[in-house]
Structures are given as structure tokens and as C-alpha cells.
């Protein structure tokens, strides 16, 4: 699946997007964040406060317990500050 990062999440991860293949045991957004955090210090830093991180699946906001199966694009970003 494709993963995108925005704002300071992007800066901390060090890339804007990538394609990842998490193991089948990773089923929810929260589990994906935990799995990514274990991949490197950069991810651990980006996701150090998982409750702050907002997530969208296929362009729609979702909660941390949302299932990721079938997702084409998952995005992680901080709380929004537009307008």
C-alpha cells in the first residue's frame, strides 16, 4: 500500500511517500503506527506521540482502530491548521 506523510510527520520520517508491505498481523491504523515505529529511529520519532497523529485512508479521516485491509493510500499527518 502507498503511504503518505505531511507537515512535521513528513519531515521526521524524511520522505513524503513510499510503498510499504506490512505483515498480515498488522490490521489497524494503530497497529500500523506501532509497526512503522519499529522500523527506524526516524519513524519512532515521527510517531512518538501516536495520539497526536491523524490518519486518512483513501482521502477520508479515520480513527486509530480503523482496519487497513483494502486501503490503497494511507496518510499520516499532524492536526490540521489551515483556513
Amino acid at each position: 500500500m502507498k503511504v503518505k506523510y505531511f507537515a512535521w510527520v513528513r519531515e521526521r520520517v524524511g520522505k513524503a511517500e513510499e510503498t510499504i508491505e506490512p505483515p498480515a498481523t498488522v490490521r489497524t491504523v494503530a497497529e500500523l503506527i506501532t509497526w512503522l515505529s519499529g522500523q527506524s529511529e526516524a519513524y519512532a520519532y515521527a510517531f512518538e506521540k501516536p495520539k497526536v497523529i491523524r490518519t486518512a485512508i483513501d482521502h477520508a479521516h479515520v480513527k486509530a482502530d480503523a482496519a487497513i485491509s483494502g486501503a490503497r493510500e494511507i496518510a499520516f499527518f499532524p492536526p490540521m491548521t489551515g483556513g
Partner: protein, 160 residues
């Protein structure tokens, strides 16, 4: 993104270029005799944020989702108020104080629907449309933090 549902044209644009408020109102009301009220909200880059002097703001967005998220809230506004037209323009890029950032226009037969819908759209633009501000000041650059007051402003629309 432009669509016309019966007599309620909706325009949603994300762009780097500035907008001309008078021109956007003229486009929205051109040839219409059923519109009695147009409310316009402009968000402008200002020089101070929580007591620090801002030299510039950079607006980043999530292309694709930003348009869709705004559309979802415009659709909700259309279901809640009798609107005759909506325009939402959000700029991205780097801005200095005094420059336009966002424009919301709502048109209706009567003012109340237009006022309320414009406020509703702005409250949700600030809290759920995927845009992020990074500010530059004398002390460096940093991402703007979300304000609880904005979440509270959006939450009041979910109370019946």
C-alpha cells in the same frame, strides 16, 4: 472542482494564485435574481501569532483529499441551509503578512443561512481540511500548532 446542483453552483479551488473577492462574488451572482445575500469570509496572513512576530507562512496541503474534504463539508452545508451558491478558495504556498489565504462565499435568499453556512464551512476548514501552516519568524521556523478553540468552534455545529 466545479459543479452545479440545480441552481446552486459550487466552486472549490486550491491554488497558489491570489483571488479577487469582488470578481468571485460577481461570478457567483452573475445572471441571478434569486440571491438576496452573499457572505464573504477572507482569511489573511497576519504578522503576530501568540505574541511572536511572523515574517511568513507556508501552507502545505494533501492534494486530492483537501478538495474532497472541503466538498464533503460543502455538501453538508447544502443539506443544512438553503444556499444558492458556494465558493471556497484555499491558497497554498508561501505568504507574507497581509496576503490572502482563504476565501469562503455563501449565497442565499436571506442573510442568516449565508452567515451561518460561511461560519460552518470556516470552522470545518480549520479543523478537518488537510492543510498545515509553517511559520517563519526571527527565532526560526516551526509548524503552527492546532488550537483547542478551533476544535470547540467546529464541535458546536454537531450539537442540535
Amino acid at each position: 472542482m466545479t459543479s452545479s446542483l440545480a441552481s446552486c453552483p459550487v466552486a472549490i479551488r486550491i491554488q497558489e494564485d491570489d483571488f479577487d473577492i469582488a470578481r468571485e462574488i460577481a461570478v457567483l451572482t452573475h445572471g441571478r435574481t434569486d440571491i438576496g445575500a452573499v457572505v464573504s469570509f477572507s482569511g489573511i496572513c497576519r504578522a503576530d501569532e501568540d505574541s511572536s512576530d511572523i515574517a511568513a507562512l507556508t501552507l502545505e496541503h494533501y492534494p486530492g483529499m483537501a478538495e474532497e474534504e472541503i466538498k464533503r463539508h460543502v455538501d453538508e452545508a447544502l443539506s443544512r441551509w438553503p444556499l444558492n451558491g458556494v465558493t471556497v478558495i484555499h491558497r497554498v504556498g508561501r505568504f507574507v503578512p497581509g496576503q490572502n489565504i482563504v476565501l469562503v462565499l455563501t449565497a442565499s435568499q436571506h442573510r442568516r443561512a449565508a452567515f451561518e453556512a460561511a461560519e460552518f464551512l470556516m470552522d470545518y476548514l480549520k479543523t478537518s481540511a488537510p492543510f498545515w501552516k509553517k511559520e517563519e519568524s526571527a527565532t526560526g521556523t516551526g509548524w503552527v500548532e492546532a488550537h483547542a478553540r478551533d476544535d470547540e468552534a467546529a464541535a458546536r455545529w454537531t450539537k442540535s
